[in-house]
């Protein structure tokens, strides 16, 4: 049944492209219906498969001469991420309700993107995974280039080229892995079980990891992200920062770390204190955390703050991956979910609620508008989202960061100080942005709203979208056990055996 998440999304996209132009308004409803159905499917699968073990969704022979199968499987990690995609998909449509330029093409590209993301999370054959991974690239370009804002064509091209270079690196690694293992099969299980030589793994691992890492915002290959997310229309930003960047992290875990676990081992020598690729990527992740937070702190454009905060949060995920213990890895996956939700919420507020109304994202300009009075719902939502984003307990960010921090204590205690600074900077930039955008100006208790133009009220779709996301964050934050129940068995599966045997 889960395969239908992919099929329905693509069918929905096709239907949208074929929709006659007179009926453009139906496009929204069709898109919403499609995303709701796929979300329901993901949810029911999540509820049904409590055990978290990997199960086969479909498996057909495809290109048998090369040993490639159309093989979809899901385990606890996939189910969690599918759920995330479902939620963000629905909320993205809700936040885009106001788009009125080339509506059906917008939602058409949107649904293709969602379908391909579902595909990546479900794929068990690496060729198939790569196919879906590449399909993600093209809709991104058009979504940004056509419906975006600041410097959209440049941003779109940059984003796409970076993504493509990343996937090119992955392709090289995949082809090498396929050929070295005898060109018999591209199934993840088969390739993971093949014993590549340590020498091979030592160069294949960083290649594939960086390839996926580019999409995941690994510092210093992250520069496409802030420009791209800022230029993108709200729903695209939500998807890009919320879900597509997680594709990169997922690829790092599912492909790079599963196939080439020995690549994480010690080199035998040290360079500036780093003794293995694991050290290198851990340090890069921490740099990403700090860099993203500190640069966000000085931004004047509201959306750029959120864009850089995404880099910072993705740094947490990558750091969690590098801890290589169960709690750190679980934390990384929960952080994927958490940041997906929160990025969606933050971009929703900044892009849809504020920018679409005020037509400016300049923080100093927003201050005098006294937005906490004109758009109280937006202020409220941003406060909640901001608090959750900075790791306030009770929300999803805290649960995730808690686990990652424990993992880091376990594996890289020397980095903890820097992570702590990152946490504090995380508080600072959110509060600064919130302060300047919503609560600036003189003490508002004495302010009378002398604006002769009030802003359009927050519409129902926006409230629904925000509500869904806030509830999701609270659920993940207060009941992380729901997800840990399926993630832990997945991490203990034979697939990650090589990773565990390395035992670092």
């Amino acid at each position: 049944m889960l395969a239908w998440t992919i099929y329905i999304s693509f069918l929905g996209a096709l239907a949208l492209f074929l929709l006659p132009s007179r009926r453009a308004a139906w496009a929204r409803i069709l898109a919403l219906a499609t995303t709701l159905v796929t979300f329901a499917l993901a949810l029911s699968a999540f509820v049904q498969h409590r055990s978290g073990e990997m199960f086969t969704v479909v498996s057909y022979p495809w290109i048998s001469s090369m040993g490639i199968r159309f093989s979809l499987k899901a385990d606890g990690i996939s189910l969690t991420l599918l759920l995330l995609t479902g939620v963000i998909g629905v909320c993205g449509v809700l936040f885009s309700w106001n788009i009125d330029y080339r509506i059906k093409e917008f939602f058409g590209f949107y649904l293709v993107l969602i379908g391909a993301v579902y595909g990546v999370f479900l794929s068990f054959d690496l060729f198939l995974l790569f196919v879906f991974y590449e399909i993600v690239v093209i809709p991104k370009y058009f979504l940004i280039a056509i419906w975006g804002s600041t410097r959209r064509e440049y941003a779109a091209m940059k984003l796409v080229l970076y993504s493509f270079i990343g996937s090119a690196m992955v392709l090289i690694g995949l082809i090498a892995a396929y050929v070295v293992s005898g060109s018999r099969s591209m199934s993840l299980g088969d390739l993971a079980g093949f014993h590549y030589s340590p020498h091979f793994q030592m160069w294949a691992f960083p290649l594939v990891f960086v390839g996926f890492g580019i999409l995941a915002g690994l510092w210093p290959f992250h520069t496409w992200a802030p420009t791209g997310h800022v230029a993108a229309p709200t729903a695209a930003s939500m998807l890009l920062a919320g879900v597509v960047m997680k594709l990169g992290a997922y690829g790092c875990l599912r492909v790079a770390m599963t196939l080439f676990p020995l690549g994480l081992g010690p080199w035998g020598f040290h360079v500036i204190g780093l003794g293995s690729w694991r050290d290198v990527f851990a340090v890069l992740a921490v740099i990403g955390i700090l860099y993203g937070a500190l640069v966000a702190l000085v931004q004047k454009d509201f959306k750029f703050v959120i864009g850089y905060s995404s880099i910072s949060h993705m740094g947490f995920i990558l750091l969690g991956l590098m801890t290589l213990n169960q709690i750190g890895l679980s934390g990384a996956i929960v952080q994927m979910v958490s940041h997906g939700i929160l990025a969606g919420l933050l971009f929703g507020v900044v892009g849809r609620m504020v920018y679409a109304r005020t037509h400016t994202r300049d923080l100093p300009a927003l201050g005098p508008m006294h937005l906490n009075k004109l758009l109280p719902f937006a202020a409220f939502t941003f406060v909640i989202a901001g608090m959750a984003s900075m790791g306030l307990p009770g929300f999803s960010g805290f649960a995730a960061e808690l686990m990652i921090l424990i993992g880091v204590w376990h594996s890289y205690p020397t980095l903890i100080l820097f992570v702590g600074i990152g946490l504090i900077a995380g508080v600072a930039y959110i509060w600064r942005a919130m302060q300047q955008a919503f609560f600036s100006g003189s003490a508002p208790a004495a302010v009378t709203t002398s604006h002769d133009h009030s802003l359009p009220p927050i519409t129902l779709p926006e409230k629904l979208g925000a509500g869904i996301l806030i509830c999701s964050s609270v659920v993940v934050g207060t009941f992380p056990q729901l997800f840990l129940n399926v993630i832990h068995p997945a991490l203990n599966s034979p697939l990650f055996q090589g990773l565990r045997k390395g035992g670092w």
Partner: protein, 519 residues
């Protein structure tokens, strides 16, 4: 273990109130205010009920509730109260209505204001009853949010800067504390306070943590100290302890008076509660090792803050610094209790006294400070926003009842025997003197200076020449008198019959003091 989840209900009740108040909307201001007040009074009644049912002789925690929550992280939902928690719950239940009453004249966005106050009350209740770090930390952090907004949105002209400073300081402390706790979790595999305390008692907690971390650059003792420092920082900022106190005066001064009452009456106790509930049981050994620097900090807090209070001209700032001073005594006593005394039973008895003194001081200061700020609020309302020391003079002729009642509160703050302020300070000094003589002696200076500036306030505001513009100042209304009388009465009651409080908390104090042994 009771079957009815009293504590969870008590904690959730203000939150329900907050949502109700928000839904009521802003049309009917009186309705909103009264609803909020009613909710806080219900909490008070429940707390009194718990007080009544509480056993002053039983060991351990009462009214416990336990549910599994996140098994993968060994996190359980566990709440319970002992003497200390119950005392804090009572204090909060008293201070919050006072704060609401003092905020009666707020005109802007009333539903939001009162719902934030109620949310804050939930967070306070939660902090004082949580027995597992996970949800304790949730409440600890969440309390910042309503506090920040209360200061920011209804505060004075400098509220932006003050609120930000408040937030940043507290967050830095919280992050440090979080990191330290995660380090503990690494080896202990538990977040439960009681379990962690047991491990610390056995002397196994810190060595295991240190071994696990494997930092070769520092000696094991130093590693332990670093972890201790992280947790310490979180609480030191909150109390506050010199030199982490700089956020407090501006925040207290810029906040609306009702909020200041909450801050000083209840939130400041969070820091001390943390010292008692967490730092003492878990980090006793480390505290013993750095006892002398800690004592110096406590003395500095006491003396310097009193001195600075003396130099202030803004009434609110005077009592802000005075708060720091009063809480400094608690810290002095806590550090004194930590001191290793071997098996000396006489000194152990002093420790009991000091510990009881801390509890009493926490309660009494909360009560007294809240009342004082309430009076300042009333004065501000009457004077149209003025609250400088030199703005008034000779008011006793115009508002005699006010003068009388505020005088009582001032003397209580000063520590006059017969009022509640005395007994706490007395026990602290009695207990600390034999234990840390030099520090206690230095702290007496603080007592002296406090006496000087409080008398100064009395003299400058109520005595002396009366100005023209104050001749028409209205005295206390009936409503104000009715609400003030119980509070003042409580001051006398506790002052004259401290057994009211001690009956409940003494056992806990003894248990806590006994739990500390030589490390």
């Amino acid at each position: 273990m009771t079957s009815f989840p009293w504590i969870t209900s008590l904690t959730a009740l203000p939150l329900v109130g907050a949502i109700t108040v928000l839904f009521l909307g802003g049309k009917n201001k009186a309705l909103v205010r009264w609803t909020a007040l009613v909710f806080s009074l219900i909490s008070l009644f429940i707390t009194l009920y718990l007080w009544h049912r509480f056993s002053g002789t039983a060991d351990g925690y009462q009214f416990q509730e336990l549910h599994t929550w996140v098994p993968s992280l060994h996190v359980d939902y566990r709440v319970g109260i002992d003497g200390l928690s119950l005392l804090m719950l009572l204090l909060t239940s008293i201070v919050v209505p006072i704060g609401m009453l003092a905020s009666w004249q707020i005109e802007q966005r009333i539903p939001l204001y009162f719902s934030l106050v109620l949310v804050l009350q939930t967070c306070l209740f939660g902090t004082f009853t949580a027995l597992n770090f996970f949800h304790w930390f949730i409440f600890w952090e969440m309390a910042l949010i309503p506090a920040f907004f209360l200061v920011r949105l209804w505060g004075g002209s400098g509220s932006a800067k003050a609120a930000m400073q408040f937030l940043v300081y507290t967050m830095v402390g919280s992050v440090a504390m979080l990191l330290s706790f995660l380090a503990l979790f690494l080896t202990a595999k538990t977040f439960d306070f009681t379990e962690l305390a047991t491990l610390a008692q056995n002397g196994t907690l810190m060595p295991a943590v240190v071994a696990k971390l494997g930092w070769h650059l520092l000696t094991p003792e130093h590693v332990a100290l670093v972890i201790f420092f992280g947790a310490f920082l979180g609480f030191a900022v909150k109390v506050p302890l010199f030199p982490f106190h700089t956020w407090l005066p501006s925040t207290y001064a810029e906040a609306p008076s009702g909020t200041t009452i909450l801050l000083t009456g209840a939130m400041s106790k969070m820091g001390l509660y943390g010292f008692l509930r967490i730092l003492l049981p878990l980090f006793g050994a480390e505290m013993q090792r750095v006892l002398t620097p800690l004592l110096w900090l406590a003395v500095a807090t006491i003396v310097l803050s009193a001195y600075t209070a003396w130099a202030q001209k803004d009434l609110k700032r005077i009592f802000a610094y005075s708060s720091i001073n009063h809480l400094g005594y608690c810290l002095l006593a806590i550090f004194a209790v930590v001191k290793a005394t071997g098996g000396d039973t006489a000194l152990t008895a002093q420790k009991f006294a000091a510990m009881n003194g801390v509890f009493l001081q926490m309660f009494n200061h909360g009560l007294t400070a809240a009342t004082l700020f309430w009076f300042i609020a009333m004065l501000e309302k009457r004077s149209g926003g003025l609250r400088g020391l030199d703005d008034f003079g000779g008011l006793r002729r115009v508002i005699p009842v006010f003068t009388g009642l505020m005088g009582i509160a001032l003397f209580s703050s000063l520590g006059l025997p017969g009022l509640n302020g005395f007994i706490g300070e007395f026990l602290i000094f009695k207990g600390s003197f034999p234990l840390v003589t030099w520090a206690t002696s230095l702290s007496v200076i603080g007592l002296l200076i406090t006496a000087i500036f409080i008398l100064g306030v009395l003299q400058r505001v109520f005595y002396g020449p009366l100005r023209e513009k104050w001749t028409q100042l209205p005295d206390l209304t009936l409503g104000e008198r009715l609400t003030l009388i119980p509070v003042i009465g409580l001051m006398f009651a506790v002052g004259l019959y401290p057994q009211l409080i001690l009956g409940v908390v003494n056992h806990t104090a003894i248990q806590m003091a006994l739990a500390l042994r030589n490390f």
